[in-house]
């Protein structure tokens, strides 16, 4: 495990892979940042894995890094994450699962198959995470901030 986290650096190689530069200058290419608690506490405990999946370092949070490394890692995390945030539920094929949902997300409109009400997971008091039949996760940070129609659809399922 790498100790001196503040002196870590990152760069992207020509292949688009993340390269970790250790304080002593040695490099690890194909490093993957992984959030240890992606749902309950995404900003803390970010592990850096090498290409074999071995943990190189575990960052308590991104603030331990120097500003340029933080920006690089932040960007890498964004690029590899795909969890559309649902802003509105337009229609559902039937009120109860299994059903097809038509949604507006921060990444555009899409539709997905909801297999079971068990695929809707509550997060905290007002949040929810929905996993579709392909395993894509859609987030709703705060159900109470959705419009009435969307709230009604989701509330009857949780």
């Amino acid at each position: 495990m790498i100790e001196n986290l503040a002196s870590l650096n990152f760069r992207k190689d020509a292949w688009g892979q993340l390269v970790l530069i250790r304080p002593d200058g040695t490099e690890h290419s194909g490093v993957e940042p992984v959030r240890c608690f992606p749902l309950s506490d995404p900003e803390r405990s970010i592990a850096l894995l090498d290409s074999d999946g071995k943990e190189l370092a575990n960052l308590p949070d991104l603030s331990v890094l120097n500003p340029s490394a933080r920006a690089a890692l932040q960007q890498e995390l964004e690029e590899r994450e795909f969890a559309p945030v649902i802003q509105r539920i337009t229609t559902t094929s039937t009120p109860n699962p299994p059903c097809q949902w038509q949604v507006v997300t921060d990444r555009g409109t899409t539709s997905f198959q909801l297999e079971s009400e068990d695929d809707i997971r509550r997060l905290g008091t007002d949040g929810a995470v929905i996993a579709d039949s392909h395993g894509i996760r859609y987030k709703i940070p705060d159900i109470t901030r959705l419009d009435g129609h969307s709230q009604k659809i989701i509330r009857r399922l949780i």
Binding site: A14, W15, N96, I136
Partner: protein, 784 residues
């Protein structure tokens, strides 16, 4: 646009991979890619030398014409003469990870990317590799040049199969190879078509279960109708009787003769109504029990046929509550409410007709509050449904806590978490209370309101009647008013009963919907539409480019292997490498996502599941014994086995002696509430169980890893008997248990990395050798 690939086979002597035509199928979302080709090809005599071959192919590349023409057109127009597309896919998420379509296509010379803004292309010579990745449901296709990444595109998993085809076609082109030379009819066997769930109200769908009893239901209906008519007809004597009494009191007449007749009619009417409703009630109660019993049976048998995947995602408590308490609610509804509801709605009509016959304007006034009440019932119905759903869910949650903690009670006690579990149950129970309270507060508000409106209805009759009498309306007397009051009272009291029924029917609808949700679920392991009949298999097994994923995690990747009948294959690898998944695929607990598994040269999806599984025996790490005798447990897979057969199986499994030590011998009860057996003893019973069905394909899933070494030795002996002459796939952590294996394969991250005999693998000095060394050290250190 045809798919032409002029090349030949230069298959390298690759240990692991045999190239064949792939077919992809996702069970839930049938997404097929199986163009057919007729190829005439020549074999090369020397690797690396390409001979042109003739290829005639099916016309257009499948699905191409379905692509948006604004994306497709620019690519088509760019194609040079003689250039044609080999594969294509849609990237439905752009670089900024927004939902936006672009089209990726591969011709034999170039790779195209068409967005709504532009078309780009890269000559294949510049591309070193096409790499696909997927993470968290987001797939990425990367176009890698020799010195840098040329481009990348994202896609959702639904596009995954197409992406894999693009990748494979690219590899083929690069290698100058025609992977489709072995067209061994790898068409995915068609699964049985299952009709899509009808999108109607769950309660109406109960009719399909009631239909067999339609005759009795009709009788009940007739009885109910007759009872209603009797009640209303009886009310018709009220007017003359009242008028007679009125006349007598005002001394217009001097005798009450005729009143006996009226009283007699009333009594007889009441008696008839009683007898009729008794008959109707009895019939409907019987029918409703039958209907819900059928529903329970059908649900349970459907549940048994669903794939393991379904159970993996469901909580036991929830399933149990659906089959037990939800169906019980339905019985109650069908027997009580349906009886009342049908009777009452008929009565409403009959009474309304009677009212109109008596006095038209008064009838209108009487029925004034009626539409409002109906609207109110309708309005509350929707609210109640949501409430009841929440209630059912909370109830299921509570049962889930039970189903979770009662089997896990040892862990609870060992970690002294009783208080926490009590709290967890209390919380779940509290949620039930809250959910029910919400419903209760709803209908406790609506119900008195409806009662009030009903009272209002009767009040209107009085008021209007008083007015008519006051103005000395013709053809209206106190008798008519009394009859009206009685009839409208009857009308509104029935309406009030019906409004209560809204409650019951919504509760029932929720329950019905929860049950139908199970029934509507289609098994991910479908029965073949045209099954291949099989008795005993020979036992040849072949994995052909098998791929599988759990959700978005790819656990098996391009796995190919041929196993001869009777061969024993050891399966070694780290935890999570995909060993158990592979076994689940062989057992058809799941179906492959890509490629195929063949038994005796036939795709296992072509066999009837039951017939196929009769050929597969499995011994698990922690065998499950059902509640019953030892003999029953051994004969679980073949209940018709004779006592001698059972004993022989037990002898071969080295279980006979210890069974005889038990007080009741083979009749000893085991399983939950039964005699407790040690791990080794249960294991031997499960080996006997597998032996008895005499399977051609045997699966040992860490059969000995939970046992001490003495017991393991006994089990090993038992296993030797079991393995003999059968195709065996054995997973083991302790390599020593795989001594008899003909070949050992090592799996890492879903891929086959090494295969060979123990000695060969040691000689390679790779992953197996490392595992071997590690275990030897462990044995030395802790004296295993």
């Amino acid at each position: 646009m045809i798919d032409g690939l002029n090349s030949l086979d230069l298959e390298k002597p690759d240990r692991l991979v045999t190239h064949s035509w792939l077919s992809y199928s996702f069970q839930r979302h049938p997404l097929r890619y199986n163009a057919r080709f007729e190829l005439v090809f020549q074999t090369a005599n020397q690797a690396g030398v390409l001979n042109p071959i003739t290829a005639t192919m099916a016309s257009e590349i499948e699905g191409w014409s379905s692509v948006d023409s604004t994306l497709r057109g620019p690519v088509e127009s760019r194609l040079a003469a003689g250039e044609h597309l080999v594969a294509w896919m849609v990237s439905d998420i752009d670089e900024q990870r927004q939902y936006r379509m672009s089209l990726l296509a591969l011709s034999q010379h170039r790779f195209f990317c068409s967005t709504h803004a532009e078309v780009r292309d890269w000559p294949l010579a510049e591309i070193d590799k096409l790499r696909t990745k997927d993470r968290g449901g987001l797939g990425t296709l990367e176009l890698l040049g020799t010195d840098r990444r040329l481009g990348f595109w994202h896609y959702t998993i639904a596009q995954g199969p197409a992406a894999l085809v693009v990748g494979d076609r690219f590899e083929d082109l690069k290698a100058g190879r025609d992977a489709r030379k072995q067209i061994e009819e790898d068409d995915v066997p068609e699964g049985e078509e299952s009709e899509s769930p009808p999108n109607t109200l769950a309660l109406f769908r109960l009719w399909q279960f009631a239909r067999p009893h339609a005759f009795w239901m009709f009788i009940a209906f007739v009885l109910s109708l007759a009872a209603t008519v009797a009640a209303v007809e009886t009310a018709k004597v009220i007017r003359p009787l009242t008028n007679l009494l009125y006349s007598y009191q005002s001394r217009e007449v001097t005798s009450l003769s005729g009143s006996e007749w009226y009283l007699g009619v009333m009594l007889a009417g009441a008696a008839v109504a009683w007898i009729l409703s008794w008959g109707q009630g009895a019939i409907l109660a019987w029918v409703s029990e039958r209907v819900t019993a059928d529903l329970r049976n059908r649900t349970y048998s459907h549940l048994q046929k669903l794939s393991l995947e379904y159970f993996g995602g469901k909580r036991t408590g929830d399933l149990m509550s659906r089959i037990s308490s939800d169906s019980d609610r339905l019985t109650q509804f069908l027997s009580d409410s349906i009886v009342d509801f049908s009777a009452n709605s008929i009565l409403l009509v009959v009474v309304a007709v009677a009212l109109f016959q008596e006095n038209l304007p008064l009838a209108f006034v009487t029925l004034l509050p009626f539409p409002f009440i109906v609207w109110l019932m309708y309005y509350s119905r929707d609210k109640l449904q949501v409430g009841f759903q929440a209630g059912s869910r909370a109830w299921a949650n509570m049962t889930s806590v039970l189903a979770d903690t009662i089997p896990g009670i040892r862990v609870v006690k060992a970690f002294a978490q009783e208080e926490r579990e009590i709290e967890r149950f209390r919380t779940a129970n509290e949620t039930v209370v809250v959910a029910n309270n919400r419903v209760n507060s709803l209908w406790t508000f609506f119900w008195p309101l409806i009662t009030f409106l009903n009272a209002l209805g009767v009040f209107v009759v009085w008021a209007y009647g008083v007015r008519l009498v006051l103005h000395r309306a013709p053809d209206f007397d106190v008798g008519a008013l009394t009859a009206f009051v009685v009839l409208s009272g009857m009308f509104y009291s029935k309406l009030e009963m019906m409004s209560r029924m809204v409650n019951a029917s919504q509760r029932a609808a929720t329950s019905a919907q929860r049950i139908f949700e199970i029934l509507d679920r289609v098994s991910n392991v479908p029965e073949p539409a045209r099954p291949v009949i099989v008795g005993k298999l020979r036992g040849d097994l072949e994995f052909r480019h098998v791929g599988f994923r759990y959700g978005n995690r790819k656990v098996i990747k391009d796995f190919s292997l041929k196993v001869q009948a009777g061969e024993m294959i050891g399966l070694v690898g780290h935890t999570g490498a995909g060993k158990s998944t592979l076994i689940n695929l062989v057992c058809r607990f799941f179906d492959v996502a890509e490629g195929a598994i063949l038994a005796d040269g036939v795709d296992i999806r072509s066999y009837k599941i039951e017939q196929y599984r009769r050929n597969v025996g499995i011994v698990l790490q922690d065998p499950f014994l059902f509640y019953g005798t030892i003999a029953e447990n051994i004969a679980y897979g073949r209940p018709e086995a004779t006592r001698d057969e059972i004993m022989n199986a037990a002898r071969a499994a080295r279980a006979h002696e210890f069974i005889l030590q038990l007080a009741d011998g083979y009749d000893s009860l085991v399983g939950e509430r039964g005699q407790s057996l040690s791990g080794g003893e249960r294991q031997r019973i499960s080996i006997a169980r597998a032996l008895l069905i005499d399977p051609r394909i045997l699966i040992l899933d860490e059969a000995t890893s939970a046992l001490d070494s003495t017991t393991e030795r006994q089990i090993q002996e038992a296993l030797q008997n079991l393995v003999r002459g059968r195709t065996t796939i054995a997973i083991a952590h302790r390599l020593s248990t795989l001594r008899q294996a003909n070949r050992i394969m090592v799996i890492e991250r879903g891929r086959l990395v090494e295969i060979g005999t123990h000695d060969e693998l040691l000689a390679i000095d790779g992953a197996y050798a490392e595992l071997h060394r590690a275990q030897q050290e462990l044995t030395r250190d802790i004296g295993w």
